[in-house]
Amino acid sequence: MIDTIKPANIWHIDPAERVPIPFYQSPVSAGFGNPAENYLRARLSLDQLCIEHPDASYFVEVDGDSMIADDIRPGSILVVDASHTVETGKIIVCWVNGECYAKRFVRFERMIALFPSNPDYLPIYVHLDIDQFSVLGVVIRIVSKPPKWDSEQTKSAINHVRTYRRERNVREL
């Protein structure tokens, strides 16, 4: 052993792991110090919240609505962690014969089934002896935009407010 990695060189290993730290410049002078100085913290980052193992985590984009009841919508980004063990009941991202799926994993002996959460879709059955099956990892977070209302939903919401106002005799503004 000769040396350990200098803190300045840590980005050599993983540039993704740098954390932005706020810099509060306070002049050093005699007098009253900045009372907030002792409370400085690194800013919160989504990475910290969503990623447990940066080296084993991958982002996967969802294509299709087969998992819609689990809040996994078309365009959602899944945070997938390859270090988690795959167990029955977990949502995983895997490949079956080259196709990539995000589904709920169920295993019974040598049989694997991948369950969608949209009733319009059928489960996918995987025969380990016949099908090529490999796992990317377990879905640990789902990042999505909030769903948009269509014009119908907007209209009915406005109607609701209108009726409410009429019933309670709220004065016009």
């Binding site: 993983d14 540039p15 982002f59 990539c100 490999s134």
Partner: protein, 429 residues
Amino acid sequence: MYGLIDVNAMYVSCERAFNPRLNGVPVVAVGNNDHCVIARSNEAKILGIKMGQPLFQIRELIDEHNVQICSSNFELIGDMSARMMSVLAQFADDVEPYSIDEAFIQVNTHFDGIYPSYQGLGYAIRDTIGQWLRLPVCVGFGITKTLAKVANKRAKAKPELGGVCVITNGESAEEALREFPVKDLWGIGSQYARLLKKNGIETAWQLQRIEDLDWVRDRMTVNGLRMVYELRGFPCRLLEVNAPPKKTICTAVSFGKLIPDLKNITDALTTYLARCCEKLRKQESLARHVTVFLHTNPNRITPGNGLPAKQYSASRSVRLPHYTNHLPDFLRYAIPVVESLFQFGYNYQKVGVILNDIIPDTIHQGNLFAEFPTAKSLHIGKTIDRINRKHGRDKVRLASQLQSPDWSMVRGSLSRQYTTDWNQLLKAK
């Protein structure tokens, strides 16, 4: 104890990690503008495809066996490599990334970890990288780096070892070295291999047993002597955790197609110089010696008559009046140089730039007769690097750079940048 961890066919394995369709079929990765094979899957090796073979030579094989071709996805490979190094840091305090797909680690002989043996540690590393990154690795342990290299090659060559091989002193070393051809040793090039063969040394064991060490020193320099000691189990090459700054920095990439005009060549040169300056700043250095070279494709044959095409190559060096790592400072000299080298009427294949005379940026001295780089210009460079790291390469660049992408790299069968670009993520149904 030193360990060497190395990914089998890195370029192919990274593609397979995100596309299991490529498992079990012959795959080659091509580099250098899709001209040459730079990595082969086992299936492709069995077909007889050689390392570095030009693609046109194996067209028939490719069609016949449906060999899959991947352009080199440097973004993906770089990221997977960084991930691997970082995973290794969980297993050992000291990790030396040796190349993009291999790293040395050092573990204490008395490690009181959770692994009962070096074998156990090796399997744990292999399994973790296999599960987290889906990359197949081989692990070799030895008392010296050279022995770790030997162990690693042995792990690769003998599938029954399960990808892990440990060479300790004594019998296991003798058996391994007896079977190990001396020409495959780390640091033995074809010249030394010939020399040793002439003197009847064909296995690593014979080299280890050699008695006349003066002969080794005379004929193979001190490095050969070190190698013998390393084989005997005395570490001479230590772990280089902080890579020493480079003494020479070079960027020279072949053009995507042949380029006849000075404008494109200058554009490429500017971009390569920008890369060199980036590298300089990354290792916190300054340079003052610039060499520019320019040449045509020496293998090219004139279409029609089949005769070798007319060739041209030239290079020229300049010494700047001061040390710098600021791109415009270099350009002021490099552009006139390339203009003086350029001859009209040739189709050029490559322009390259080499920086020499490199010093750390902390000790540079001013020059009485020349303006040296101001703190401001050095600061600009750092800021540009920061912006480009965050927003993507060449987002901030000189106006004369990358005006036309005529010369840039060809990567016809490029896979997605699964881990470095939000628009190219893996898609799951």
